[in-house]
Amino acid sequence: MRTDITKINERSPYTDLTEGLQLFAGGTSRLFGTGEWRTNTPVLDQDKCRQCLLCAPVCPDSCIPVKDGKRLCFDYEHCKGCGICVKACPFGAITMKEGIEA
């Protein structure tokens, strides 16, 4: 049975939960804002960026969207601030800024 999980909430009795807490939908991690876990924030310097795109595939949270061959701004809703992109950038275009704000 594909339970409509939007009807399950923090008042639902245990008998109403799905088996093993399965979610009957795809891409549900989009709804989970992991950005608030961040303590430091990557910032892109547009002038230094050469659009080599070495940063995008190394992001463990797919937070560097690429459109028409060009990277866009960070997805701060989900970026956890790990800083891997900073290491990957050969041009020093990404720096870590202290705090959750870009």
Binding site: R2, L21, F24
Partner: protein
């Protein structure tokens, strides 16, 4: 599986070890995926299954993994994807699966694991006791123990209909004693392929990952507001597993002529003294009971088969029904809690909860392959008699055959 029209099977007399018997059952079930890593004394099982695959007898996808941690991880992935999955292990192999054992259960995946019981280190030793299985007793797996090769074979075939029942959806561990059962060759009555295949049936999960157009997320992070409810729901499934185990055990009887319950009561009707024991040593206990009965002693054996879910109410009723004066609770495992083995804790707790106040004495035997003989059983029954008559103080947590 169909519970109404069970196909009867002819018995095929054979001689086999426990490992051969379980491998023969795997050939008949033809599971979709088997990730496994070799460890004594269960190594023969993946080895034999690999041979069946190489010979084209079954089309199971065998995944040679780099550890048991990976074996259970792969089993979880395969089962979640929608494949009927099984694996085999022993001792440290089961210990290395630890984290994943709990995940398999909490994700409600009906994986079947055949455990060939071997002691956990240390001291390092490869022989039989139940410390591996008992160590995993709170992981949420159903656990069924076998006395001999026949039961290992029969229990294995029943494992899939139990695990996959929509009321259950929990993983099942089918346990047999390392070397004593797994490597000793004994007579066995095998079943024909067709009735076994019909009994187990095709695996048709309702929800699975490789199901185009019907996406599902398995094992999501759960905040505190949901995790406790999820654990209770899992516990409720374990409670429901009891009725399913009994149904499947009865149906198995219709196919094979051998029915199974939570435990076997051997000459307990009018017994004054009982021994509760699990695994291969139950055979030794029964042989001793036969001898003692000939000598006029009213003794019997309750051989525990299903350890999880723990049938405490039924055990209490059986002890109460027998009207016995004292019970020896036999543990092939040390709990290191300073007072008892695992059965020595759980059975008296169950008796107390059910208000059956029979005297019990807990014994530890057969650790790391130590022999357990008919004479040991005789001594224990003699001791029980003295305890019941008040001529001896009940020993607590006593080791059998220990040099002191």
């Amino acid at each position: 599986m169909s519970r109404e029209n069970v196909m009867k099977s002819r018995a095929i007399p054979e001689r086999m070890s426990g490992n051969e018997a379980v491998s023969f059952a795997i050939r008949q079930v033809n599971p979709d995926v088997m990730p496994a890593f070799p460890i004594t004394p269960s190594t023969e099982i993946p080895q034999m299954v690999s041979t069946f695959i190489a010979n084209g007898e079954i089309d199971t996808e065998f995944i040679p993994v780099e550890s048991e941690h990976s074996a259970m991880s792969a089993a979880i992935g395969a089962e979640a994807a929608g494949a009927r999955t099984m694996t085999a292990t022993s001792s440290a192999g089961l210990a290395l699966m630890w984290e994943e054992l709990l995940l398999a259960a909490s994700n409600r995946l009906p994986i079947v694991l055949t455990l060939v019981n071997r002691t956990l280190s240390g001291p390092i030793n490869i022989n039989c006791d139940h410390s591996d299985g008992m160590g995993a007793r709170d992981t949420g797996w159903i656990q069924i123990y076998a006395e001999n090769n026949q039961e290992a074979y029969d229990n294995y075939i029943q494992a899939f209909p139990i695990a996959e029942d929509p009321r259950v959806h929990l993983p099942v561990m089918i346990c047999q004693d390392g070397f004593i059962t797994s490597h000793a060759v004994e007579n066995i009555e095998l079943l024909e392929d067709a009735p076994v295949k019909a009994f187990v049936g095709e695996y048709e999960p309702e929800e699975f990952l490789l199901n185009p157009g019907k996406p599902v997320s398995v094992g999501p992070y759960s905040v505190s507001a949901y995790a406790m409810e999820a654990k209770k729901a899992q516990e409720a499934a374990m409670e429901r597993a009891g009725e399913v185990i009994l149904e499947v055990g009865e149906c198995f009887g219709k196919m094979s002529g051998r029915s199974y319950g939570f435990f076997e009561e051997y000459r307990t009707e009018d017994a004054e003294y009982l021994m509760i024991i699990m695994g291969s040593a139950a055979g030794t206990a029964k042989a001793a009971v036969d001898l003692l009965r000939e000598e006029g002693h009213k003794v019997g054996v309750l051989k525990l088969r299903v350890f999880r879910p723990f049938p405490e109410k039924e055990i209490a009723e059986a002890i109460s029904r027998s009207g016995c004066r004292a019970v020896a609770i036999m543990d092939r495992c040390e709990s290191y809690n300073g007072c008892s083995g695992p059965l020595g804790s759980e059975i008296p707790a169950g008796l107390y909860r059910n208000k059956v106040m029979t005297q019990t004495v807990n014994y530890i035997y057969g650790l790391a392959g130590r022999d357990f003989t008919v004479d040991h059983v005789r001594d224990i029954f003699a001791e029980l008699e003295e305890v019941a008559q008040g001529t001896m103080k009940a020993p607590n947590h006593k080791y059998i055959g220990l040099r002191e």
